[in-house]
Amino acid sequence: MQELAKIYGETLLLDKKFSYCPGCGHGIVTRLVAEAIEAFGIRKRTVSVVGIGCGGFSHHYMEIDAIEAMHGRAPAVAVGYKIAKPENIVYTYQGDGDCSAIGLAELLHTANRGIPVTCFMINNNLFGMTGGQMSPATLEGQVTSTTPKGRDVHQHGYPLRVPEMMADMRGAKYVAREAVYDAKSIRKAASSVRKALDCQMKGLGFSFVEFIVPCPTGLRLSVSDSYKWNKEKMVEYFKPQVFKNEMEQNDEN
């Protein structure tokens, strides 16, 4: 406990138990975000705007102010907040349903607007909180509670790749997709979280990181199988990569 406190400082509430299911990828991402906030020393001026879904719990484990937005609207709330209080750091923490189903318009326009806010999309490729229904990110043929015979792409379209859509948006300055299925991928993910927040702190523009995470409960898999499934199936379609990093040039100026 003492050692952990050194790393997480005051941001992560270590005495608070996660209510995420065992093995849930949210735990990892929440911790990474808390770590970055602590490392930058921005806890006191950081505000989290969380979406509806399991990601909505994320702020309960951190000693930061938080706003629970209506389903899908977190990026718009973040924009309004940032405009009225530009000195604060604002990030959204949303699932793939919140981000890419109901809230795609707000997310993409926020990316395009380029106002320096950060959006984290935690993609477990289904609606976790409501019990594992198909989301836009559900893979072709994947069985969920609303696709009992597997996702039929002729009826539901193909799994939606979100950061790819931001590649051409000049307001987006840091755009990445990361995974969290092993130590190496987690280290990369941690680096992207830091860069995304740094991008905002420097006032460069919009930053976005998608995280491919497992939802053992929704996938009806054991914890280890869900991570294996992430590593083997998910990242094949949703390839982790940094799509855009337009921060360096500015650092030289």
Binding site: I67, E68, V77, I83, A105, G203, N245, M247
Partner: protein, 384 residues
Amino acid sequence: MVVRRNVIRYSLAVDEKKRSNLKTIASESYMKSETLFLKNAQTFAEAMVRCGVRYHFAYPITPATEVMKHTSVILPQYGGRMVQMESELAVANALAGCACTGTLGATSTSGPGMSLMQETISYMAGGELPCIMLDAMRVGPGDGDIVGAQSNYFQATRGGGHGDYRVIVLAPASGQEIVDIMPEAVKLAYTYRTPVLFVIDGVTCTMTESANFPEPHDYASEFDTSSWAFTGTGDHPKRYLLTGSYTHSQGEELNNHLLAKYERIKEEEQRWEEIQVDDADVVLVAFGIHGRMGQDLVSNMRADGKKVGLIRPISLWPFPDKAFEKLPESVKSMLVVEMNHGQMLDDVRLAVNGRLPVHFLGKTGGDMPLCTLAEMTAKINTLL
């Protein structure tokens, strides 16, 4: 992949110099009382900015667009900005985000745009977030028509969003009244931590008239929001805005808290204008443009020896029930006139509670989307 390109730092910082020196710049051109000749939608924009609104979020829609056109010009002069969003959904939520900082923001919209905002109005009522909103009412349902109407009375006073909530609804009837009531609106928004919604028919919004503006005064900044604003844990222990509930008891507590607030508002914030009701045979009840026409109607008919009175609700929620509590015995009936097919009519009937017959005259849409003074007069003559 690193793209090498010149990156322009995005500056969000409002020109603090402008903000703090507002009195200086304004003393040259903006800080004196003056009479302006503006479309009432522009008067709304001027009035809210002069009372301290610094952020206006909006999406183009007729006839409310005039407001955002005007604020896009004047707000930068006050160190604020108009932010055009991608939809009314985004508008309402950006407004909520702005309110979370304790800053007073505003929006303006019409018909379908108002419908899109309902979810967030429910959210802001639940989250107790103050803001100023304008519904420049036009004909519905659906896309309806851009012609002015009063068809959103139900939506405004009952709430088109979900849940047991209310917002304060104000219905000024002229450009001058928009100016006069705006400081009140800001005070109401902060005192009760609630959205304050103006409903003004599109005909009134698009007409141009003279209005006397007092010296600008930033009422918004006089309210201390530090006890609730979500400005970061540097200012206070962790706070979070939660309009949903994790336990059933939390949901009940929130609703009881809101109910008590709404009861207080009902008791203390009813507003109306009353003309010669004391000895009237018939009382006209109308808000907005018809209420304003009622001022002439009463004096014209009184000049002919006909005892007509007027009750013009200015706050639609809380509805001015008190105006109907002690109606004199002389009153035989009432006439409600609206630019719709009978919406406020329900509230008048509830207020009268069966004691008197309540008649109705109304219309919506068309080249002449309201009842003329001649039509109103003719109808009242049938009741005398």
